[in-house]
Symmetry: C3
Subunit: 477 residues, 3 copies
Amino acid sequence: MAWNTNLRWRLPLACLLLQVAMVVLFGVFARYDFEADAHWWAGKRHGNVSSDLENEFYYRYPSFQDVHVMVFVGFGFLMTFLQRYGFGAVGFNFLLAAFGIQWALLMQGWLHHLEDRHINLGVENLINADFCVASVCVAFGAVLGKVSPIQLLIMTLFQVTLFSVNEFILLDLLQVKDAGGSMTIHTFGAYFGLTVTRILYRRNLEQSKERQSSVYHSDLFAMIGTLFLWMYWPSFNSAISYHGDSQHRAVINTYCSLAACVLTSVAMSSALHKKGKLDMVHIQNATLAGGVAVGTAAELMLMPYGALIVGFICGLVSTLGFVYLTPFLESRLQIQDTCGIHNLHGLPGIIGGIVGAVTAACASPEAYGLEGLVHSFDFQGFKEGWTPRTQGKFQVYGLLVTLAMALMGGIVMGFILRLPFWGQAADENCFEDDIYWEIPEEKSTIYIHEDPTFKPSTSSVTSVPMASSMPVASLVP
Amino acid sequence: MAWNTNLRWRLPLACLLLQVAMVVLFGVFARYDFEADAHWWAGKRHGNVSSDLENEFYYRYPSFQDVHVMVFVGFGFLMTFLQRYGFGAVGFNFLLAAFGIQWALLMQGWLHHLEDRHINLGVENLINADFCVASVCVAFGAVLGKVSPIQLLIMTLFQVTLFSVNEFILLDLLQVKDAGGSMTIHTFGAYFGLTVTRILYRRNLEQSKERQSSVYHSDLFAMIGTLFLWMYWPSFNSAISYHGDSQHRAVINTYCSLAACVLTSVAMSSALHKKGKLDMVHIQNATLAGGVAVGTAAELMLMPYGALIVGFICGLVSTLGFVYLTPFLESRLQIQDTCGIHNLHGLPGIIGGIVGAVTAACASPEAYGLEGLVHSFDFQGFKEGWTPRTQGKFQVYGLLVTLAMALMGGIVMGFILRLPFWGQAADENCFEDDIYWEIPEEKSTIYIHEDPTFKPSTSSVTSVPMASSMPVASLVP
Amino acid sequence: MAWNTNLRWRLPLACLLLQVAMVVLFGVFARYDFEADAHWWAGKRHGNVSSDLENEFYYRYPSFQDVHVMVFVGFGFLMTFLQRYGFGAVGFNFLLAAFGIQWALLMQGWLHHLEDRHINLGVENLINADFCVASVCVAFGAVLGKVSPIQLLIMTLFQVTLFSVNEFILLDLLQVKDAGGSMTIHTFGAYFGLTVTRILYRRNLEQSKERQSSVYHSDLFAMIGTLFLWMYWPSFNSAISYHGDSQHRAVINTYCSLAACVLTSVAMSSALHKKGKLDMVHIQNATLAGGVAVGTAAELMLMPYGALIVGFICGLVSTLGFVYLTPFLESRLQIQDTCGIHNLHGLPGIIGGIVGAVTAACASPEAYGLEGLVHSFDFQGFKEGWTPRTQGKFQVYGLLVTLAMALMGGIVMGFILRLPFWGQAADENCFEDDIYWEIPEEKSTIYIHEDPTFKPSTSSVTSVPMASSMPVASLVP
């Protein structure tokens, strides 16, 4: 396989074409939400709003910024653990997310917020666009190091579209609750990405095996990603919940679940190592599974101990997945999952969907208060006659629809990305920044002590280009 | 000393046991605060709350997230300065904080918030739990690199308990003001940690001296920690102050104090070096002392120039401490303080306590307004007859109680941690991640120029495992 | 040129002197704003304020913290891309910003907020001080690696002063709108810095050429800076806009512009490389140009597609600048612009000023509503008779004044900094931390396979002090 990885005209064209399309479509469709429009002030003066603070901006903006950090720094740095793919991890994540949020604003706008032929943008749209892109970042984790930036842009275009449709089916048609996106974001993103990577199976990937591990400092960079994801996850799960108690409760539940998840991840990591040592991969990933798994139920009356139990289980399951399931998936099912997203987003996402369904089905007027129950689940208007049990049933339908959409979409996407002209790297060049990035030459001058019995004809000072291992390797006789 | 550092069964058991205990205790005690409960919405509708924004969540959540970042990224990365203990610094800090916040929610709940046999969790509890854990992170700095994760979990369990009792004595019994925790968090954490490290004195620690320094990039990682602590410290000191002017003022005071502290730290660092060079240790640590030292007084009418003076002095004191006091403590008092917490949290904490006492004692109706004075110091109900002077006196009592509790607690803890079966490393293996972590092998292929007079029998390409210096050392003849 | 770079007495004296001056001036002038004063609570009780939340603190504090992160982590880490100047980048940025915010509080206070001989500090002052310092950080980018910390302190003192005067002329005299500071912050900072570096031209800078590039991990550190700047830029441009719709709109516009900018930067970066590879310099810098260029217009009714177009253009212009303009400036105009601030802040700043002028001139009552128009541009009182066209005209005047002030100020500053006793490094020692910092010695023990034909008289284990390349070089015969 000798694909041409020179993207000189393909990548610029793809980027410019997509961006021009965005400009045109925004010109036709995108306007400001009333609360972001200069007319708002007049409306406020005429007594419709009691205080500037009632502007939705003040309810959501701090959460938005936290989610924004998770998408760009969180996911970006989490994937820098590979020794020679840090530029690709952070840089391509940056690229796909920057394109994805624009396209998501449009897609979600068309499906959810179209008023009078216009999409009215406000802070909630920005959060939802970031959420949608988070799902693409999840899928990126499965194909990290094996695809070209052009493939990523195409995947983003397609996945954002499908995400929005799936989200529309779940939230609008099935009336599912999923504020933290256990189903819409994590389950969808994970199984979409896993299907894509299955179809892009690379038979000879062990040729770049050596680069598929981390080095000491790349693991520390990855911890930056892990920690910002972990710390801001309460904002993620509460960002678009109802005002007041729902946001408040979502934060508490997520906080509890994540804390419990850290302890069980550490426990399993040590227990599964023959010398009881901890594995950075587990600390970087499994500790986050608790946030994924309370995504759906976080805003419900899960109770703090319920959140702890969810986190407890997910730390165990996720670490076990890294140790046993990922190698199995690779060797038997030919699913090469670079970041182990199945353990961090796939399984915990499904658990989250089920926990959400059970929590909804068990909701009682005692726990929520009668008015609280109606408010929390919108049991009015269209959903007038619904009971918690109905809600629970529909939550399960939502999970199944999500899985089906992810698998089907992933298959289509996979075959499109298998076409040979997207600039993908050969198997032996995977996980290598040098393919798509101008890499700084790293010279370290080594002084070898002079020695009378050793008379080199050339200088004894050798230049060691440490950063680019391939050219070096080729020099070796 | 040949302790067994294989934690295969001990660490998993400790983690799982503690986490199961947390689940059970949360099940029995933890409920949602009214403002995080689904009943809140009904209460709001019936006219008790004028706006969704009146939910405490919107007052405190941005500050909470900043504090959360300080505990996990701030303290975690601050301690990555050691060349071979980055995983332990970030990872163990993550572990102990994740356990500590759960236990702190319970302990502080039992002592402060027990209503009708239940602890009602809200965003303020989350902040206080993070505060409590910050105190453990401080103490961790003293023993960094010398204790096992099991010892850290035990220390966290014990220190959180004692912290909560001390906090209860200060805030509830002595009615001390300490919103930023100069006394309860920093003084307590520092002297507790120093006492523990004194009792764990390692006679032959110079055997791992080489690993007790930093390398170029580890110092940059540490600066991530420093800067997030520095930037978010205004949130730390204002997070649980009264609404409105108190929070506002605490931010301004902390901002001023920290800014001044940077300049005097730089000045002393340069002045104390024979070539006038700056020392990263001082920039990483002493610049933060100003935040510690306005912890108590930040919410009071300290005045901006007062805050500057506090920062000014602490930058000097802290840098002097690093240069003269830390070596003295180690050589004479056998206190091996890895991160120099005595200079960053110990001395500035005491200064902060005194500054707080003086500021309180000097509070006048002119400065606060009569109502403002009563409101700021709660001079009503139980404290009806108190004067600012009384308050100042009790502030001093609070400081003394804190020191006593820290010393006594540290002694008990130290002797418990000296037991030989906690998996601690031998003196020559301290500050080495390899003991508790699976470390990635770092191969760098070195090409040595071919030379006709030099005919090696084996390959001239040598593999240099740079990341693990110990096995290499053992290969050297 | 053998300047003395030992700062032992000069740096401490400069720092202490400046800090003592700050303490005295704060003592004379700085007080708390009413909303941060203990009297506020009494005012509130007497019915002047309906809710604690009406305190300005709750409107601005989250934005303030984001801006704070941009100044200290964003600019600090963005400049760590140099292989041997990471300490200087982060550390000197820390120092100058910590001094600058204090001096800016005073300067801006005297010019804008002097009431009854006092400066009343509130959260808005803190944001404006950070803004002012951001302008110094921009200028620092031009002289990075070539100036001593003393020169930076002097530059900060002078530039903050001039910034405040320029800001006063623009905002108060010319009544220009510039919430995100395209003109006052970026254009001013860039052309000031470029003029300074022109006058400090170093003829033999190619002697330290090798250190003027990055290494693999230093580029990743720089991406931390890039991403925090990129993510928090919406907060930057909205931090001091009017409450409600203005802040809301500024966020949306900045978000859109930045997203578009990423795609066009990537496109150009690939198109301009002969193998189509991406250059980290462009990803680190050009992607931010969109934030600079909507600084002025962000709070206006630019429309989302307008923001996209601005970002689109700036990504192109900025990347082209890095490839063609920076080398031209250096070779022909003798402007040595270390970080390429002309491409990131200079050109986009001017574009931002023009976009702002056009957007203002085209403002119509249809777009804003009549009341909205008056409110957005303050067309009342002093500006009673103004039309949008007048506003646009004055925006252009503002831009021209800014350019003139920056050039004149830069010339004066440059000649002051050329004096030989500020401790600057010689040309061959530029971009080298070792001059001003105590650098950790980095030993890596290399084991060279034993070989019977090669009998060294000394140990074959050579110690390679990698971190300090200069002493090594001197050992080479």
